[in-house]
Subunit: 429 residues, 4 copies
């Protein structure tokens, strides 16, 4: 189904039409800026705010399902054809259901509806690809594995709003892959920074701990829908945790309060291990004293009862929401790992920043931003802006050769980055 947007992008990806010409407007190689990072680290400010939406939060569920589907498609294409075919499934909506939670049980009245949205190659060389079947199967698998109290068959309905990629686009995508010169499919930017500071590390770790297999086994009452909001004022950190409890594992109100206290305790342990001295943890702060006024669920996620979600509305690629840090609005989840700069540049910007800090002695912090221009080769961004904070007494300009090499190596690695993404287990939500 050829369409305007596809076509627009298709021709821009056609390696046979566009010979890349240097010009005064668009430099032959992208422009690389390396500068000193003058922005203060948020850890140095009086106030800092960091948020993480846990794996069962409706927004995170959407991100995970979109990414999971994109990866499943990539693997299927690889298996059947030896290379990845065009797809982009980076939109999605979860429409919350209706439920009636209760101590010792409860029931789901209406399932949640999940709309997976985008385009994918549905036929190639005469072979049909079961995109819809895959979307439904892969999503049910993910839900079954990640939300322990949810029945992925009964409590969820999955809609596959995926149009076929245009024939043209499919072909060009394949050819561009073949020539080794993949052209950017969009004008967009990716950002990343390193390292995580203490509050960021803590917020991330608390959710990961509460949703770890060990904790889930010991405390099946802890649902996966956990939101952690961390606010630091000077040295004091306050974590406000919203955590869905699973009714079938909660006997009554006293049991609920007991279990809630345990959640706070688990969070405090994470803080203790991280050496946080002044830590306050609030769990489901505003709970009342009746079954109606507490955060009880059937499935461990508020998506069962009217809380909706979307792809790209929650955590950024590093798993956090950080208003005091540079962020991109591009969703990483669901984009194809071959040509979609909205995915590739966010991943690579994060990796460049991390490598700068890890590999260059004297670099304490790094921010990286990459901008593409539609139709340029993916490995030649319009601009790369890398800013680093040097340790006291160091001069950023001394790091320039090392940093340049790091940038170049990551850019040239973009062509094969899909291998990492498809076969690795890094999570970007």
């Amino acid at each position: 189904m050829p369409d305007a947007a596809d076509k627009r992008r298709a021709r821009e990806s056609d390696p046979t039409r566009h010979r890349w010409q240097p010009s005064e407007r668009v430099p032959q190689n992208m422009k690389l800026y390396i500068a000193s990072l003058s922005t203060p680290s948020p850890a140095a400010l009086a106030v800092e705010i960091v948020e993480r939406k846990g794996i069962g939060h409706p927004d995170t569920v959407c991100d995970a399902l979109a990414e999971n589907l994109g990866m499943a498609l990539s693997r299927l294409y690889l298996e059947r054809f030896g290379f990845i075919l065009h797809h982009n499934v980076d939109k999605g909506l979860l429409w919350g259901g209706a439920a009636q939670p209760a101590f010792g049980g409860g029931e789901v009245l209406e399932p949640m509806d999940i709309y997976l949205t985008g385009r994918a190659t549905r036929e190639f060389r005469g072979v049909k690809i079961p995109v819809e079947d895959l979307a439904i199967g892969a999503s049910r698998d993910w839900l079954g594995k990640n939300l322990h109290a949810l029945d992925a068959h009964r409590h969820v309905r999955i809609h596959c709003l995926i149009r076929p990629s245009s024939t043209e686009l499919v072909e060009l995508f394949r050819r561009s892959r073949a020539t080794g010169i993949v052209l950017a499919n969009d004008t967009s930017c990716g950002v990343g920074y390193a390292p995580l500071d203490r509050l960021e590390t803590l917020v991330h770790a608390v959710e990961r701990r509460l949703n770890s297999p060990a904790v889930k086994t010991a405390h099946p009452e802890i649902g996966e829908d956990i939101k952690v909001m961390g606010v630091r004022q000077e040295n004091r950190i306050a974590l406000t945790v919203a955590c869905a409890l699973v009714g079938s594992h909660v006997r009554d109100l006293p049991d609920y309060y007991m279990k809630k206290a345990r959640i706070a305790e688990l969070a405090r342990q994470v803080g203790g291990a991280a050496g946080v001295a002044e830590l306050a943890v609030d769990v489901n702060t505003a709970d009342g004293d009746t079954a109606d006024s507490i955060y009880l669920t059937v499935t461990g996620t508020s998506a069962e009862a009217g809380d909706d979600g979307q792809v790209g509305r929650g955590n950024r690629a590093n798993g956090l929401i950080t208003p005091y840090r540079p962020m991109s609005l591009e969703a990483v989840a669901g984009k194809n790992p071959v040509s979609h700069v909205g995915k590739l540049y966010n991943v690579v910007a994060g990796r460049i920043a991390a490598a700068a800090v890890a590999q260059v002695a004297g670099v304490e912090e790094a921010h990286c931003c990459l901008v593409s221009q539609i139709g340029r080769p993916v490995h030649e961004p319009q601009v790369v802006d890398l800013r680093v904070r040097a340790a006291a007494a160091a001069d950023v300009q001394d790091f320039r050769p090392c940093l340049t090499e790091i940038v170049q190596s990551h850019l040239s690695g973009i062509a094969t980055l899909w291998r990492d993404l498809v076969h690795g287990d890094e999570r970007f939500y």
Copy 2:
């Protein structure tokens, strides 16, 4: 339909249950931080990136429809009952259609599908409220008025995924309004800054100009789906404009190229008027030389052909995407203007920053961040973090009294902010 998420929030909004108690953990009044802004202005950096998705971009269409619906609901509730009832319609998905553009015409093959999602009061005091009818009517109206080449009846299908708000929630919402103490419905944060710098102003102005009534009348070939990506390197600004042209107003390929050149010229005029010396404008950069390889549409938006959109995935409340600026991930669109801190705090943070700059001589720039905690009164955030850049030779501490008053006045104004939002015409996308 009472549900877990509703209930969780409902009790937190119950003014009769929660008497607000000062404690050492949660100070009686929110904590206000006023500090010097040590972050450099992006205008002072070597590289700066700013993006705006125009009014016809699928993401912006979603924001606009969600906000438009929220406002229509608010007005309907006001008309019928004298006050606003509970609603939250801040999620939404646009599933792009299929089209066959052509010079001099073209046709839409399959309409786009728009899913408006959330909860709203559907019955109150025995009166049923035509939420679905309103959603469809209001959306068609908006589309008809804002996308000149789109047939809002034939080219669009609207789905209303809006569950009824729980009875409890409806009642509590009403009562909390009655007592005058509205409690925060979530733990979230809002951010804002002022003023816009030169690149921000330019990017915003270029899209606004291209989508102005005057330009549309003179150049009906310019579709509303315009994305402007501005990249500044030192003093040079490059704008990459993606602009959908409307096939029925384009005769042939030469005409297309002629009209594209005019678009670039219009953008350059905006730059010229703003005194930008070194400005490069690229429109639909990678266009080829056949009808298939240019950015031609039937309706003026790529949503006609497979480009999908979502609420909250595009512009922030100030109409821009600014990776070099603090940003919130909270969508403003579609949230109720009475209790939803995700909306109120973003609006208020922007206004506090603007007021700091406008009203306090010597304040050149301001960043403001507000964090709520679920269950606290809306006008008492957990933390207010206001950082300002003082003009040379000024001391931020001298501004403290003025700034404190600005903050307090905006916080106390939150209770009636809905009037501005409902009756005003400020746009937050």
Copy 3:
């Protein structure tokens, strides 16, 4: 999209593969039975029951929209390619909405949803056919023209569940048309009879009168959703009429009762004109004495409020439901007029019966039944069973030559029957 069912049928329609071979099992020409009709005419029985669901009844709306779409597709294919392409849209569902009727007005709370279902050629010789756009446009047109109080844009949502016909099928369908030998796509049967008796004529006429332009202009309060159930006991006929009244044209309860009386009077006039002596008419029999307990609507159809409909669940091809007559379960509406025997045989059976009565003096009544076998030429049914009632003193066998000729001429006319159906204005619901 090639599929099992398509393929199965496709090969059966391939005129190049199947050479039609006479065999003892399947005679070269279909077997024609002509016999005396020994079944008594229902008019001769003590009890007779006849029903008609009027044009605005949810089932009839579904029939009309399916047929309207099939015809619109046929015409579009003819215009663009010179012949009709494969399609079958004979399924459909109307999901009733929600409404709040009131004297002097009322409002629709949720629109009705209409699902048009089937398969159609969506691309041919590289040209895409706007099937979905057509389906929506044609349906809105029909609704706008036929249901005077319904807003076809606001009160209805149309879903096009139409998969593409397989490429193979499209091609074979075209070729079979080209060779002039169209093969039956299914094993099914069609039935017809003539003439209508007095009760049948009356039931049909009452609905047609109440829904005539003259009555609608004079009495806009009469909605199109009119169901007439006629029960004859000996000479007495009782009509039970259910008729939706349109709230905006009804002032109050007395006005409602006055207008209801007028509807009964109009029905009695039809009876009087037809010479029915003993006629009782009940309209909305069980109405109560409050606005809540009468049959008041906003749009003139119960589909606005939870009454659902389906294609093929109401009137047979002659516009009636007649348990005392032979009936086929095949829906005529929406089937393609070239090869679909479920449509063609019902139409032709009715025409053969009518011709037998009209053209053969001495034939007073005729029943006709045709059975196809999948893969046989459409004009050669497996069996034709024609039974006629001869006037007193006549012998059916004397009519044999005439009747045989009537059958043969109608069978050979099947090849061009589509012209009648596409360009004529005969209604089969």
Copy 4:
């Protein structure tokens, strides 16, 4: 959600408002006609046609799922409240999917979509009833049990288009049940006849045999989508069988033909056992000689690949389609067994006819027709028309007392008929 149609019916079912008054128009007790059946038995005619759509045919699947859901709802209401609450789920649509069958396997590309449609009580005495969850669960169960090669989770998507019954209606339904006087919810008619003749018995038996557990175990290649069309000409019976074969149990084309021959053989055995002398059986008549041109499926039903279905479009309550017999257009499936005359009267008419034949010596055949009038008590039809064929030398009038008693006893049994329907295992499709 009170609605016009609900209300209209609700008041008619209100036993406290309507005192049933005898009148000249509507006799106090329904009018019972007992007459001699002058219509010839189809077995006595030269030609007869009988059809059965097997359990896996898309239309039958729809009937089965609607009835299955209605019964599940009835049982749930009984369990939770002790009586059946209002519901009507007698509409439904199956939108066929897309599949790629293959010898030894194949795959479903897109699931089929099933839309279950109607109204049901969703809340009663403050208890919410998980209608949607039940609909999905019950449907998956039925599909899993009845279609052996279908994966009820992956290959099917179920949509619950069920609006809440109006509160009023719920209450009246309950009250009418309490008073023991249930009023008819519609003006409609039910018909039945007995006994089945030889062709009817054969057509039914062939499908039942091919879909019996024994045959399925021995021949898993036989899908449940089996359509049997029986045409009798004089003494010769021809059965045209369309039977979906399951690809995973078919090795190759010769194997397919071998297995097809076995199906014909099985059908002939049924005929032999029934003493049919001249029987021809055709299976998938028009199969070609390539994998593409045979009736191969993944799941055993053509619903996997574009064949759509609807409730009430296939078999009548006795499991057959019989154009030479009286038939009702009312769907039995999915209607509530307490007040819905469209269900009750079809069941009862069949039972009265069967009882007349079984219990009255000398009655060889019986046709029964019942007509309700909306608002009359269910056990007092407007008319009962019973016609019987007496054995030679018998006089129908002699049977009048027995037949009257049979009718009366079945009518008075209507009040408790639901017990049979809910707990029995009679099938009406």
